[in-house]
């Protein structure tokens, strides 16, 4: 498979999407974090990272979590793992803590730094994905 053959979009339209409807500019900048990104990744990988940016060459940025105990006390920190019955974090004091969960108790609120990409899954069109890929490959 020729990975360059997947570049079928319009780079100018991709730039417009990047700076407009896609709201990419809220977190990314072609002159800073995205400088040279078209040289760091081939188009196939780049297109995948547009949709799911986790698992690139950099570390995955952790989610943060805030747990509100029945007493009203809150515990916050960096999320390590969560499932239906426990949540594990490195709390703000640097201590690893695991808390049991029973249905909705305690209350667990998670903030995902990649949430905008998740929200985009239901919205982005194939044309927008193609155009954005064509734009990002120009950022050499």
């Amino acid at each position: 498979m020729d990975v360059n053959a997947i570049v079928v979009g319009n780079a100018a339209s991709g730039a417009a999407y990047f700076n407009g409807a896609g709201k990419c500019r809220a977190c990314h900048n072609p002159d800073t974090d995205f400088k040279g990104i078209g040289a760091r990744y081939d188009p196939f990988v780049l297109q995948g990272r547009i949709i799911n940016p986790r698992g690139g060459r950099g570390p995955i940025r952790p989610s943060t979590v805030r747990v509100t105990l029945p007493s009203g006390q809150t515990v916050s920190g960096r999320l390590v793992a969560v499932d239906d019955f426990s949540v594990t974090m490195i709390d703000d004091a640097g201590v690893r803590r695991s808390l049991s969960r029973d249905n909705e108790v305690p209350k667990v609120e998670i903030t995902d730094p990649y949430q905008a990409h998740l929200d985009n899954l239901l919205k982005i069109t194939d044309k927008q994905m193609h155009d954005l890929t064509a734009y990002l490959v120009t950022l050499k």
Binding site: V7, F44, N52, D83, D84, L118, L121, D126
Partner: protein, 557 residues
């Protein structure tokens, strides 16, 4: 001259042996499972519902381990059979696990559990988890993605093998009685399905879409193994449905593997077959048309193999979404009339309810939010695919992903709540077709990359409308929702309980009305089969497998 007492004792011994025979009373097959679980689905309906209520919302919190059995896959000491003198290297398909991943739903007959894995079958004492026998099949190859269970007739068991055979075993000893070839492994066929016994028919199906080969369902004689009838899942020249293919050659090479067990309505004398995706898998341009009867629900007469009606869940599928998900049979009042219904939550994200007497569609509705590949619903209630969402050189973002919004593991229908429950996923993939011209076979010229997803969740669906009663989103499943079948199947009971696997290796009991968690236990990996329940010596058990181990639970006093 023999004394009378000796004769009596001999008679008593023979009587005891006769009682110990692992005979299955065939009359049990059509009834709700209580002190047996004699078919893959428990009964013929595919509901995975038990009328037992000893374990209920009051005492489920005290459910604890009764015993466990770790599957012994060592050929040493096993009864052996096979198509070759020695076993040959095997190919582990996706989701397989060397050493035996138990995807099998056990049978329970007269206090003995019978279950399987690729190349293996076991009999285990249901009272204590002790192995009675182990059968090992010396394979000639084949995809070892999984084996989902056994069928039983009288004292005989039926096992399908990765190299395309159906094997009959003596349930008493595990010794092979005979084996018959269903399909040739050299054409990339393999077999995973539990045979379903209907009177004197053993209904078997097969798998494989790596090559463009025909698919079929067949019925075999339970005593001799000889073929009684064979129904091809795609039409031949001159047959109804051939106009949905470019030509008879494309139809004959169009796949449509029926790789899941059938369900059965004894009153209508119809079996419900679900079929796989068409071939070539992604090159829809080489097989323009609806491609009947691939990705379909088909009603057949089990005595003749003649088709009664069909409904196509994924017309002209181009995303590897077979419609092999369980066709669940139940009755329900609709507008004051008791109706015989069939429901399927299909891999493509659509929930269908049909009148199972004639295949007429009553409900078509997506059961997750992410499906983005269709542009409407046709007059038969079938989704209309959007051709723009076929695989393209520049990539198309598709949901569901290959794992499907649902997959092969059984949902459950609870007649008390009148809801259908299943594990779902909303994964995404980008599909690429990098060779758009010339011939193709299997999945050639195509690739895809997984790009995460929204979530995985347990969902309760109202069959009258297709609306969701409740959704339980599994925590932490954003970005990497597990394939639904990797959480196992579901079970509901008259104890007002719903049992389901959850990500992280949990087996959970829920309130089926609300989705509230009532009890859970954890394994060292995700649940891999479908839980069953039965009464033995006055005690209700719940069984589930995770990885290579079968776990039995009962209420601890």
């Amino acid at each position: 001259m023999r004394s009378l007492p000796r004769l009596l004792s001999v008679t008593i011994v023979f009587a005891a042996i006769a009682l110990a025979q692992p005979q299955l009373d065939q009359a049990l097959l059509g009834k709700p499972p209580v002190d047996s679980w004699p078919t893959y689905h428990g009964d013929y309906s595919g509901r995975h519902y038990s009328t037992l209520s000893q374990i209920n919302q009051t005492n489920v919190k005290n459910l604890g381990l009764a015993w466990l059995y770790r599957a012994n896959t060592n050929p040493q000491g096993a009864e052996t059979g096979g198509s070759v003198p020695e076993s040959v290297p095997i190919r582990l398909g996706p989701g397989a696990l060397a050493g035996g991943l138990l995807k099998s739903t056990p049978l329970l007959v007269n206090g003995v559990l019978y279950f399987s894995a690729p190349d293996h079958a076991w009999a285990v004492d249901a009272r204590n988890g002790r192995q009675i026998w182990h059968f090992f099949w010396k394979t000639s190859g084949g995809d070892h993605i999984g084996n989902r269970g056994l069928g039983m007739y009288g004292r005989w068991l039926y096992l399908e093998t990765p190299d395309g055979y159906v094997v009959s075993l003596d349930a008493e000893t595990g010794k092979e009685r005979w084996h018959k070839q269903i399909a040739d492994v050299r054409a990339e066929y393999f077999a995973t399905s539990p045979p379903v016994v209907i009177r004197n028919h053993v209904i078997v199906g097969l798998s494989g879409d790596a090559l463009d080969v025909p698919g079929w369902v067949e019925s075999r004689d339970p005593e001799t193994g000889e073929i009684q009838w064979k129904w091809f899942t795609t039409p031949r020249a001159g047959e109804p449905g051939i106009a949905t293919w470019p030509d008879p050659y494309a139809a004959e090479h169009g796949g449509g593997m029926p790789w899941q067990p059938v369900t059965y309505d004894p009153d209508l004398n119809l079996i419900y077959v679900t079929t796989g995706n068409p071939n070539p898998v992604y090159r829809g341009d080489l097989r323009k048309g609806a491609n009947l009867y691939t990705a379909s629900i088909v009603a057949l007469n089990p005595d003749t193999g003649k088709i009664a009606w069909y409904f196509q869940s994924s017309p002209h599928d181009t995303h590897d979404w077979d419609a092999a998900q369980v066709p669940v049979l139940f009755e329900m009042d609709i507008d004051g009339t008791r109706r015989k219904l069939l429901a399927q939550a299909s891999r493509n994200g659509f929930f269908f309810v049909l009148d199972r007497t004639n295949g007429k569609n009553l409900v078509t509705k997506t059961f997750v939010e992410s499906p983005n590949w269709f542009k409407g619903i046709d007059e038969r209630g079938q989704p209309v695919p959007n051709p723009d969402k076929d695989s393209q050189p520049g990539g198309t973002l598709i949901s569901p992903n290959n794992g499907g919004a649902a997959n092969w593991t059984p949902p459950t229908y609870d007649p008390d709540t009148e809801l259908l429950y299943l594990n779902t996923a909303q994964g995404y993939e980008i599909h690429y077709q990098y060779q758009t011209g010339g011939p193709s076979f299997g999945s050639s010229g195509h690739t895809s990359q997984a790009v995460g997803g929204l979530e995985a969740s347990l969902r309760a669906i109202e069959p009258r409308t297709g609306k969701l009663r409740w959704v339980h989103k599994y925590a932490g499943t954003e970005w990497n929702p597990p394939r639904p079948e990797h959480l196992g199947g579901l079970l509901s009971t008259a104890g007002n309980l719903l049992f389901a696997g959850a990500p992280g290796g949990f087996l959970v009991a829920y309130n089926p009305e609300t989705g509230r968690q009532l009890w859970h236990t954890s394994f060292d990996r995700d649940m891999s089969n479908t839980p069953i329940t039965y009464m033995l010596d006055g005690v209700q058990y719940v069984l589930a497998a995770a990885g290579d181990t079968l776990y039995a639970f009962r209420v601890q006093q």
